[in-house]
């Protein structure tokens, strides 16, 4: 018995590699795989749209008609044929310029406001109720006030963007400051760091992830607001073009604008995500 050697069954090469399905996919395969589901989704929506516009929603332009009428604006995106007749990306550029101005103001006011709210119980107690009341106000209510204060549509629009988009920055910054672990603050206390040093060396870096969430949300709101602001003021931009085309009865352009607004908003959010990743890694 003791001389018997028990042999294990020989392992075949195919046992280790397994079936073809468990092979590691190539980069091309992975890209196609990732794109496949979204393409299916988009295709399904296009079909639904075409079907709806052909049947019960016959006032809705069909995908084909939308493409036909919008072709010029898409294929010559930077043309300027007239003040109210420009390529779609030119309009987008005007809107982006306004958004940038309003957004920067929102951040420059919102972040310090959030810091104060987070750091001072007194400040928080005094101003939190006011902020909670101002937060739900729609851009459509701020815009007339902006026009009254600034008399001109351009600054009124920027004012509206700033007033609407600053709240996520304010609240997330405040949350970030209050979420700084007491341990870090104890380190600052033992080292006798000044209030300024505690703020810049400990609180800000610790609160930065929360602040970034606020920045990202604020950008989304700013982009949303610009469309409403332009529609109401008639300024040249994606929103202005949308409202103008509605009034000119060219409804296909409404859909073009909707798609543009959505795609630009998506790209902006993605860009913010990239910036956030770079700063986190640093």
């Amino acid at each position: 018995m003791q001389n018997e050697v028990v042999k294990a069954p020989p392992v075949r090469a195919t046992d280790l590699s397994g079936s073809a399905r468990s092979r590691v996919p190539s980069p091309l395969e992975r890209t196609l795989g990732n794109a496949a589901l979204p393409l299916i989704g988009v295709g399904a929506v296009l079909l639904l749209w075409a079907a709806a516009s052909a049947t019960f929603l016959d006032s809705l332009p069909s995908p084909h008609k939308t493409w036909d009428v919008s072709r010029l604006y898409i294929l010559e995106p930077f043309e300027k044929r007239g003040e109210l007749d420009q390529g779609i990306l030119r309009f987008t550029w005007y809107s982006l310029q306004r958004v940038t101005k309003g957004y920067v103001i929102a951040i420059l006011i919102g972040a310090p406001l959030g810091l104060l709210l987070g750091m001072s119980k007194l400040f928080r107690g005094s101003f939190d109720p006011i902020i909670q009341i101002l937060r739900p106000v729609s851009p459509l209510a701020w815009l007339p006030l902006g026009l009254v204060i600034f008399h001109k549509p351009e600054p009124a629009g920027i004012f509206t963007i700033a007033m609407c988009s600053m709240w996520p920055t304010v609240l997330n910054t405040a949350l970030g400051v209050r979420a700084v672990p007491q341990d870090y603050l104890n380190v600052a206390r033992v080292l006798k760091l000044s209030r300024a040093k505690t703020l810049f060396k400990i609180m800000l870096p610790a609160a930065l992830p929360y602040m970034f969430t606020g920045f990202r949300l604020s950008l989304g709101i700013a982009w949303l607001v610009i469309v409403a602001a332009e529609m109401l003021t008639g300024a040249p931009g994606v929103g202005g073009f949308l409202w103008q085309e509605y009034n000119a009865l060219i409804y296909e352009h409404i859909i073009l604008c909707i798609l543009t607004i959505g795609i630009v908003g998506f790209v902006l959010d993605r860009l913010m995500g990239l910036v956030e990743k770079r700063l986190r890694a640093a």
């Binding site: 672990p181 341990d183 870090y184 104890n186 380190v187 206390r189 033992v190 080292l191 006798k192 760091l193 040093k197 060396k201 400990i202 870096p205 610790a206």
Partner: protein
């Protein structure tokens, strides 16, 4: 004259009395170990000594003067390391050096930082961020940070509790060596009686909470350097160990309410 002292200190958090009638005098150069159960109030004791919290009754004095706020002369090594995660190990230590020795030249500050990083054996990892360090390495950075500020007293709040047993053993040896080399006054709070006997000159057990008090003092007459494995064979070690554990367990038994109070 004692360097750091508690005079009949009482501390409560809300309605719960945590510490009651604590009196303790720490002489310069000695290593005092305080052992007790989790939740007994050990961290509160360190916080009081550091000045991070103020007592409800009684006084905490440093060089005879009342302690009203924390400061780098009473350095603290926290239980959870408290390293700033966006700074490298080197930068965490240099933060303390630059703050405490702000009037030094940059070269002198750099030399001080590097000296203590070297002392805890982290020269090869000083450019890494805490997330890239093991638990033992993180605690060594915390120790370097506290020592680099050249405190008069080093307060250690369960510095090795968050580590696994093997790393803990290794770090206890490092701590023994560093404590001996630096000659600093150290107050070490721990739940490990063996650790206290290895490191301390005298040990004070903290009775089970609530309203914990300090039990009888146990002097450790074992000569230094103390080797962890050899310690187990010494009768004095076993004697001390059983004495301290007996006191702690009996303090818990005589407090049936403590079982409900501790988490």
């Amino acid at each position: 004259m004692s360097i750091l002292a508690l005079h009949d200190v009482c501390k409560s958090f809300g309605p719960t009395p945590v510490l009651s009638g604590i009196s303790l005098e720490i002489q310069p150069g000695e290593v005092v170990g305080i052992v007790g159960f989790s939740g007994a109030g050990k961290s509160t004791l360190i916080a009081l000594l550091a000045g991070l919290v103020l007592p409800d009754r009684g006084q905490v004095t440093f060089h005879g003067k009342e302690v009203r706020a924390p400061g780098p002369e009473r350095g603290v090594v926290f239980q959870n390391y408290s390293l700033l995660p966006w700074l490298t190990a080197y930068e965490n230590v240099s933060l303390a050096v630059e703050q405490v020795f702000c009037d030094w030249t940059k070269e002198k500050q750099r030399a001080q930082t590097e000296r203590f990083i070297h002392m805890v054996g982290l020269e090869h990892a000083s450019e890494r961020k805490p997330a890239q360090l093991s638990g033992g390495m993180r605690q060594r950075v915390a120790l370097a940070r506290a020592l680099a500020a050249d405190p008069e007293v080093l307060l250690m709040d369960e510095p090795l509790s968050a580590l696994d047993a093997l790393t803990r053993g290794t770090l206890q040896d490092s701590l023994e060596r560093i404590a001996r080399a630096s000659g600093k006054t150290i107050v070490l709070v721990t739940n490990d009686v063996d650790e206290a006997i290895l490191l301390a000159d005298r040990i004070l057990p903290l009775s089970a909470g609530p309203a914990a008090t300090l039990g009888p003092e146990f002097s450790v007459h074992i000569p230094r350097p103390r080797e962890r494995r050899a310690l187990n064979l010494l009768p004095e070690f076993r004697h001390l160990r059983s004495g301290i554990i007996d006191y702690l367990l009996s303090s818990k038994r005589s407090r049936p309410s403590a079982a409900a109070a501790t988490p």
